[in-house]
Symmetry: C2
Subunit: 436 residues, 2 copies
């Protein structure tokens, strides 16, 4: 008699029962369909990599959170903590096998030993999409449009706030604050998460009170008091007139208008994204009905993706959807895909020895595009088959006659508790098709 090992999962890790797994899969399928329709192609990379590669960027936060260990061969390895670093390594390694511009997506799990008290998971799914090998404004716009279309496809209306990092840097240069630009960017990045006074005080201590006022004036105007065009004009002036950066925003605006979706975009000079990785256009996406949960899809343009692993300078623009946050948001909006099981119908098992015939009948229904399971066990009362169907979430029960392949069929609508009797196979398919 062996002792029982307590069945449990690690803190921050989750099992997915069919009801939640089906929803997740349907959501991912919708996201993939959108990516694919834009001509983005999938890649995959290992879960485990050399720690040296994943930690290349350094970064204390990452180092603390990463799952890192020595494998049986003595290698220093770690689980990937995002899909960006593996993509950089992938690009450096395969640059000669890729046709640029390269539009790729990557949906996969990542692992971080984060503090789970903040409602975070230690294993979660990211959906990354990037265009690399193109400096064009067209690439910036395509990523923005793809965000819009993907989220619309999920049933979520969005507002995308964007800015140009270079324009902000030009402004700081005019204030002789270039050296402190990274700290100022990060302070502004946190602007909406703290009280206004705190931002002012932080900026004042970095740049003096006068400059703090100027910076807050520059980054303002995003709450609806200015149109995209007015804001662009204002910040263009504040940066010393037209520049390649302001021209890029103008062209972006033209693309937005030409594709009929200008109204969802907000030029918001307070968007900076903290990471020093970004160098061009940066953006954050908010749900119009749930703006308070923060950005659900952020990203931007970078000019040196794979610099740690290659001498080639590969620029690009990309973004990422966190699946768990998206699921929580869609649940809140009542827009989650249904968790309905795949089998719409099941065949009632009236006589155990007929199981082979029931499977033959099931095959006919499957060929008629009706996913169909077969109940495995005969029961003393038919009502037990109804109960099982209900428990399994199956909409229609197919009740065959004594000769399952030739006798008329009865269809039971499990939800309505109604039978329709005496049906031919074709009629049965039709009745099942009408059941919701």
């Amino acid at each position: 008699m062996t002792a029982i090992i307590e069945p449990r999962v690690l803190k921050g890790f989750r099992d997915f029962l069919p009801s939640s797994e089906i929803t997740r899969i349907k959501l991912i399928e919708k996201i993939e369909a959108s990516f694919r329709s834009f001509g983005f192609v999938p890649i995959d990379t290992p879960a485990l990599e050399y720690a040296e590669i994943l930690l290349g960027k350094g970064g204390g936060e990452t180092e603390k959170q990463i799952y890192r260990f020595t494998d049986n061969g003595g290698r220093d390895v770690a689980l990937r903590f995002d899909l960006t670093v593996p993509f950089a390594r992938f690009t450096a390694l395969h640059q000669n096998e890729i046709a640029f511009p390269f539009k790729r997506y990557h949906i996969g799990k990542v692992w971080r030993g984060e503090n789970t008290q903040r409602g975070r998971y230690r294993e979660f799914t990211q959906c990354d999409f990037d265009i690399i090998g193109s400096d064009s404004t067209a690439a910036d716009f395509e990523i923005l449009l793809l965000i819009r279309n993907t989220l619309l496809g999920l049933g979520a209306d969005v507002r995308i706030h964007l800015n140009h990092r270079g324009l902000f840097n030009l402004f700081l240069k005019r204030l002789n604050l270039t050296e402190k630009s990274q700290e100022i960017l990060q302070t502004v990045d946190k602007k909406n998460k703290v009280v206004q006074e705190e931002t002012f005080n932080s900026l004042a201590s970095l740049a003096g009170e006068d400059n703090a006022k100027k910076i807050l004036h520059f980054t303002g105007g995003n709450s609806g008091e200015e149109t995209f065009e007015q804001c662009l004009q204002r910040i263009t002036e504040l940066t010393g007139g037209a520049s390649p950066e302001s021209e890029r925003l103008s062209m972006l605006r033209r693309y937005m208008t030409d594709s009929g979706c200008a109204d969802i975009f907000v030029l918001d000079p307070s968007i900076t994204r903290g990471l020093d990785y970004y160098t061009g256009v940066v953006f954050e996406t908010f749900l119009t009905k749930l703006p308070d949960i923060g950005s659900i899809c952020s990203g931007g343009r970078y000019d040196n993706l794979a610099g740690l692993y290659s001498k080639s300078k590969i620029s690009g623009v990309g973004s990422s959807i966190g699946l768990d946050r998206m699921i929580a948001a869609l649940e809140n909006l009542g827009a989650l895909p249904s968790s309905a099981v795949y089998a719409k119908a099941a065949i009632c098992c009236n006589r155990q020895e007929h199981f082979g015939l029931y499977q033959t009948l099931a095959l006919k229904f499957r060929e008629a595009d009706i996913p169909c399971e077969v109940f495995l066990e005969e029961t003393d009362k038919q009502v037990k088959q109804f109960v099982l169907a209900e428990k399994k979430g199956i909409a229609a029960l197919i009740i065959p006659g004594e000769n399952p392949l030739t006798d008329p069929i009865t269809i039971r609508d499990i939800g309505k508790r109604q039978n329709t009797e005496g049906l031919s196979f074709t009629q049965a398919c039709k009745v099942i098709g009408e059941i919701r």
Copy 2:
């Protein structure tokens, strides 16, 4: 100037470039479609679990191969090395949330620090499917039928060899060899991998020469000299006449005949499956055109799935497809899904400033079910757009007129290097639809 970190992946791990990733995804989609059409539902479990749980079964081989380490919280953890053990733990943990009989599938990555010299990978994908909570012969048959239909759906004809462990045990009992049954089972399991003499010698040293002859006689007959029925009759007699085990094989045979697929099944008393985990019907699947690569899908019935983690005795029957072996086999048969990119068409970028209008046009094609990317950058010569399309594997290039939304469209068949000019949008869709 930072030093370059060499971009590389760990031995036994792989990147998947779009061409191979698309093939893998299409293959998985076909497998999933088959599972779903039978009413099987998906689950998922964490990549990382308590080592105690994954190693519950003990087993020296497993312990050597598993990726095991201490996490930042001091927990003894490991990466899953198969999907069976996590499923046992899952079932023990969630038995009150599951509607039995439970038909589930699980497709996911697993990790083993195996010797890569044997052409094995350290990260690979498994596709498991099981029915638990049913002792019925119907469940055994459904798993066998699902294997057949799934592999047929992949374009592979199969022959499934099966046996009943219990019948073999009855036979050994009559020879007073019950105590050595596990060693004998394992020797027979290796039968087809070694020369006949070696098997005989091993059996003789375990059970004596006389019994060795009897065992080889019992396990013979699988090479076509006997029909299923003849073999069943012979081994029934050798086990002392009809038993619940022989009755089960009879019923299974009836199901096979009733569902019109009797000819693909071989009763093969030499199939034993080495693991002591199996207690009932066991089976191996061979490709009729590539029998020598061995079983591509094996499994069987077990009577105590979650015994290590729960006092509930949950029986079931299940099987597993190794995706990499399947891909190698299908490649060999020329039956791999194509690696064609998702975007069948691309819009030629004639004028950079029209990119917003091109995206609007692309949207129309996507709505007409033509996945369509938009080329990002204008080129000095149009032929460069043709070259890019060819490089990316895109079949049709959409060349808009000066006014992209109203002027007639030209479609270029990239393969045939042919233009069709002066098309309306509807005509353009039709022309694209006809391009292979």
